[in-house]
């Protein structure tokens, strides 16, 4: 059983159960859930809450893990809020091998550094790319479309567009 002192908050969002944990405890929390039967890591990603008016949120980056229990057919979402420059959290690739590439992708897109990852390099962008594309302050890029409503502000952050 995942012990209650690891859980900071729990809730249900649109029918999905979630728990929030402190980022230092991610390895022990996910290990406990794995022992409980949640053996499939469905996905691992990050959400950037910069200028998010639906908040307040404890930190800017929210690392989200979704685990599935194939016997009881249940899903659970584990959230950990990290901050910092770069934000750091422990890697869980030893518990869940699919996390290897998911963590590389989260590092590439958001800049979250996963400690103890065997090969934390860019996976989707070219190796010499500067910046982390899915952060909210990285512009969408591309070409300016004339006479569009975003014409003036296309090259800046999406929430200004």
């Amino acid at each position: 059983m995942i012990s209650d002192n690891l859980i900071v908050e729990r809730g249900v969002s649109a029918g999905d159960a979630w728990i929030t944990i402190a980022p230092e405890n991610v390895h022990s929390a996910l290990g406990a859930l794995k022992d409980e039967g949640y053996r499939l890591l469905v996905f691992l990603t990050c959400v950037d809450h910069l200028a998010d008016s639906s908040g307040p949120f404890p930190a800017r980056f929210e690392v989200v893990y979704e685990l599935r229990n194939m016997e009881t057919r249940e899903l659970i979402r584990v959230r950990a809020f990290v901050d910092g420059d770069p934000p750091r959290i422990d890697s869980v690739h030893d518990l869940f091998p699919p996390a290897n590439w998911d963590e590389r992708e989260t590092f590439d897109m958001f800049g979250v550094v996963f400690a103890d990852h065997p090969d934390l390099t860019r996976i989707l962008m070219p190796d010499d790319w500067v910046g982390h594309p899915l952060r909210r302050d990285f512009p969408v890029g591309g070409e300016v479309v004339e006479f569009s409503e975003e014409h003036e502000t296309w090259q800046t952050a999406p929430e200004k567009a």
Binding site: M125, P126, F138, P139, V140, G141, G142, E143, V145
Partner: protein, 162 residues
């Protein structure tokens, strides 16, 4: 008497043409594509090669994988930042004369995706001869583009576009 009959039969059995037209006819009817299938348009390109929309009857039977043996590159699909140098390298490896068909909206102008990750049009790195709009274009659109290109090749004659 034998000489007149011979002259008449020669007139019926010999064609005269220019060297340019002959070479243009030969090149145009045997354009071998380089399969550069990147994304969804590649699947429609495969449809063009299959039985109902047969591209082979236009001379493009041999869809080569090696750029050294192809004369037309069909860029079918979106070109990402990581793929762009590779596309240019492969284009450079093709021998002259060579042509490029940009198939689909993503290859022509970036398509639905106007963002950091894609080249907004493959003509930023290679010269394009025919653009095909569509997302993805029908296989018959690719045939139409091939026919347009064939007309152009036949008109160019001995020295194609540099």
């Amino acid at each position: 008497m034998g000489v007149e009959a011979l002259a008449e039969s020669l007139g019926q059995n010999i064609l005269t043409t220019t060297l340019g037209k002959l070479i243009g006819w030969g090149r145009g009817n045997s354009v071998w594509p380089l399969q550069f299938g990147l994304a969804c348009c590649a699947i429609e390109m495969i449809h063009t090669a299959t039985a109902s929309v047969d591209i082979a009857r236009f001379g493009s039977e041999a869809m080569r994988a090696s750029p050294r043996q192809a004369d037309m590159m069909i860029v079918s699909g979106r070109v990402s930042q990581k793929m762009a140098p590779i596309l240019r390298t492969i284009y450079d490896q093709m021998p002259e004369p060579k042509w490029v068909i940009s198939m689909g909206a993503c290859a022509s102008t970036g398509g639905v995706f106007n963002n950091y990750a894609l080249l907004q049009g493959v003509d930023k790195i290679v010269p394009v001869d025919v653009y095909i709009p569509g997302c993805p274009p029908r296989p018959e659109d690719l045939l139409n583009a091939l026919m347009i290109l064939q007309e152009r090749i036949k008109a160019q004659g001995i020295t194609p576009r540099q």
